[in-house]
């Protein structure tokens, strides 16, 4: 058996995760948005990756959840939000609108956030369903989404100047159009992305990364995970020093994923 990642270099049997003799470089408070209703498609994977990589970089993660009706926790350094099916989105909709100003302030202030699929849509200006009813979003992102009868499903490769190739899987029938206030996360040499017309995927705004990709997204795209982590740490402690995560499995998983058919 090969010892794993984290401290593969430690030969003296030190504990692999934050053991007593490891001095933490600081604590980062990570908030999962609505994990009870918006957790479809492995969104836990994104929260787990943030948590573990914080440890591997020498920081202490503190993972918190926010669900409908909870008090909104203070001093949050990083937010992850996932996808849900239509019923989940209906459940959280009013609660999310009641948190509009809090989340807007955090976004404008530079809090790093990862928003996947349904949460990406709800952070936009609105979602117009196939039948024409309009579900208001919280307008953190200058995007709008229109429901369609067409489901966009399959493996995706996104080409991004900031993060390199981003690998994942899409499954959505809402099509999103970006306004001038946001940039796309990248273009899609393989797969569809935001909508079936412009070949762009996801949105970037301040320190927000929004995307349709599951997979889960962060495990196979550690560059995005480390961007969110570095940003959170720098905002809180002024500077970030990297650890030595072992990404050899991620590298191989990316190679194989890139070769899978659409």
């Amino acid at each position: 058996m090969t010892p794993l990642s984290q401290n593969a270099e430690s030969q003296d049997g030190e504990s692999v995760t934050d053991g007593p003799d490891t001095v933490s470089k600081g604590t980062i408070r990570v908030l999962q948005l609505y994990p009870r209703d918006m957790n479809i498609y492995g969104d836990w994977g994104n929260a787990l990756v943030i948590q573990q990589r914080l440890r591997w970089h020498g920081y202490t993660p503190e993972l918190l959840e926010y669900n409908v009706g909870d008090d909104f926790p203070s001093d949050i350094d990083l937010i992850v939000g996932g996808g849900g099916q239509d019923s989940g989105q209906l459940v959280i909709q009013d609660d999310l609108l009641s948190r509009e100003s809090t989340l807007k302030d955090m976004a404008e202030d530079g809090t790093p956030m990862l928003l996947i699929c349904g949460m990406y849509q709800l952070f936009g200006r609105f979602f117009k369903t196939r039948t024409g009813s309009v579900i208001p979003g919280i307008g953190v992102l200058d995007v709008e989404t229109h429901g369609t009868d067409e489901r966009l499903i399959g493996n995706v490769t996104v080409s991004s100047a900031e993060f390199g190739d981003i690998l994942g899987y899409e499954n959505h029938s809402g099509q999103t159009t970006l306004g001038p206030g946001v940039k796309p996360l990248g273009t899609t040499p393989k797969g569809i992305g935001n909508n079936s017309s412009d070949g762009k995927e996801g949105a970037r705004y301040r320190n927000i990364v929004a995307s349709y990709l599951h997979g889960s997204l962060l495990p196979k795209n550690p560059a995005i995970a480390d961007f969110l982590i570095r940003t959170a740490v720098e905002r809180k402690y002024g500077s970030f020093t990297t650890g030595a995560p072992d990404d050899r499995y991620a590298v191989r998983a990316r190679e194989l994923a890139a070769r899978r058919p659409r």
């Binding site: 692999v16 019923s87 499903i153 899987y169 194989l256 899978r260």
Partner: protein
């Protein structure tokens, strides 16, 4: 056409068999020249058609229902899983009817994939339906869990006699409210077992955390009260009976409660009174369907194949088959029949494998699995996406130890083909 379709179909079937072909061609031929063949033949059955559907456990449950009914002296027609449901049933019927198109059976018990459900029940309204569960399975195929629930609801709404529902799965239990035609019956689980049986809605709830009972749970005809290592307690007719079980895994044994409810409904409607002892004896003898927790022998030691295809199934598999003392291999493919989206691996906790580690990872998504285990601090022996050499290395490295292989559907087929070269395996193509 009618007079010629059956002999012609049977002829095509015979020729195609001689040439080593599968069931698709004869099914296709009879479908083309006689599209009414399937429903006409099935409609002649005195006890009608029973369908079994749901995301997890259809194959084993269908097998159980068939064996339970056979214990009551009934002649049962059933189908094997195949690529095209209607064509597969038509082909299987061709094999069983006589040259004049008569089927010598009392009832048909059919495993119905959600993908083919609507089409089939619109053509052949079942007299009985058994709806097991709605779990996160191949969402890329169906879009959403709620959509799968709607498909099951459609099966229920087309059922003319009795619908048997899982009381513990809210999406399935809720179907009862939408029905006014058929009679509704339930199978259920003891409260003490609920926590070992998570549904997707409490995927993130910690292990063993209590799941609140639904308010006003309906009465269940059969309740699974306890699961032992080789036996189980079922409660029905106001008494609790203990019976030995060859099946392993809580979820298989829960589905035994489901099969019992359906078999009791069907047998109870027959001419002869139900033989309760016979039912129980048959239940205790049911062996798992291929890949569903079945045990093969390799190098004189057991090798268990555990099919995993969605997060709940994988979690239950890990829980039902503890890792202690076993060498472990995991084989993950992402072909269409496996589900293409790997996200589901991230909804399974692998802590239970931490102590012994995993010896071998394989399949087209072996490195996605490696990454998943890395994030749960589970040690990994070797990774090789190529299944044949990976399996050989696993067997070689685990000499003298019992072995367990968790695998997705197409990985399981590949592993069975490899194993058939060294041991006795029923290979299903």
């Amino acid at each position: 056409m009618l007079y010629f379709s059956v002999p012609l179909g049977k002829l095509v079937r015979r020729v195609s068999r001689l040439r080593g072909g599968g069931s698709a061609l004869p099914g296709l031929v009879v479908e083309k020249i006689d599209p009414e063949f399937m429903q006409r033949t099935l409609s002649t059955l005195p006890l009608g058609v029973a369908v079994v559907s749901g995301t997890n456990g259809k194959t084993t449950t269908t097998k159980m229902v068939v064996e339970l009914l056979e214990s009551q002296g009934l002649k049962v027609f059933t189908n094997r899983t195949g690529s095209n449901f209607t064509r597969g049933v038509a082909a299987a019927l061709l094999g069983d009817v006589d040259w004049r198109g008569r089927l010598d059976a009392d009832i048909a018990v059919l495993e119905l994939d959600e993908a083919h459900a609507v089409h089939f029940v619109n053509r052949v309204p079942p007299r009985y339906s058994l709806l097991l569960n709605v779990l996160r399975d191949q969402l890329d195929r169906f879009g959403e869990i709620d959509k799968t629930a709607q498909l099951l609801q459609h099966i229920a709404s087309k059922t003319t006699g009795t619908v048997v529902l899982n009381r513990e799965d809210p999406r399935v239990a809720r179907i009862a409210d939408t029905l006014d035609g058929p009679e509704v019956r339930y199978f259920g689980l003891d409260d003490s077992l609920l926590s070992t049986f998570p549904n997707d809605d409490d995927l993130r709830a910690g292990p063993g955390s209590p799941v609140p009972a639904l308010p006003g749970k309906p009465h269940a005809d059969v309740v699974l009260r306890r699961v032992g290592t080789a036996d189980a307690d079922f409660e029905y007719d106001g008494a609790t009976v203990t019976t030995g079980m060859k099946l392993r895994g809580v979820y298989n044994i829960f589905n035994a409660a489901a099969a019992l409810v359906l078999a009791r409904c069907i047998a109870g409607n027959g001419a002869t009174p139900t033989d309760h002892d016979g039912l129980l004896k048959a239940l205790s003898e049911v062996a798992p369907a291929f890949g569903r927790g079945e045990s093969l022998v390799v190098d004189g030691r057991p090798l268990d194949l555990v099919l995993v295809k969605n997060p709940s199934g994988f979690r239950l598999g890990l829980k039902s088959f503890p890792a202690g003392g076993y060498a472990t291999m995991i084989a993950i493919n992402d072909n269409y029949a496996d589900g293409r989206d790997m996200s589901w691996l991230w909804d399974v906790e692998f802590d239970s494998l931490r102590e012994g580690g995993v010896d071998q990872l394989t399949g087209s998504r072996a490195y996605d699995m490696a990454l998943r285990l890395q994030y749960d601090d589970v040690a990994i022996g070797a990774v090789n996406p190529d299944i044949a050499p990976a399996l050989a290395a696993f067997i070689q490295g685990a000499k003298g130890k019992p072995k367990r292989v968790f695998c997705t559907y197409t990985a399981m087929l590949a592993i069975r083909r490899e194993l058939s070269k060294i041991t006795t395996v029923e290979v299903v193509s």
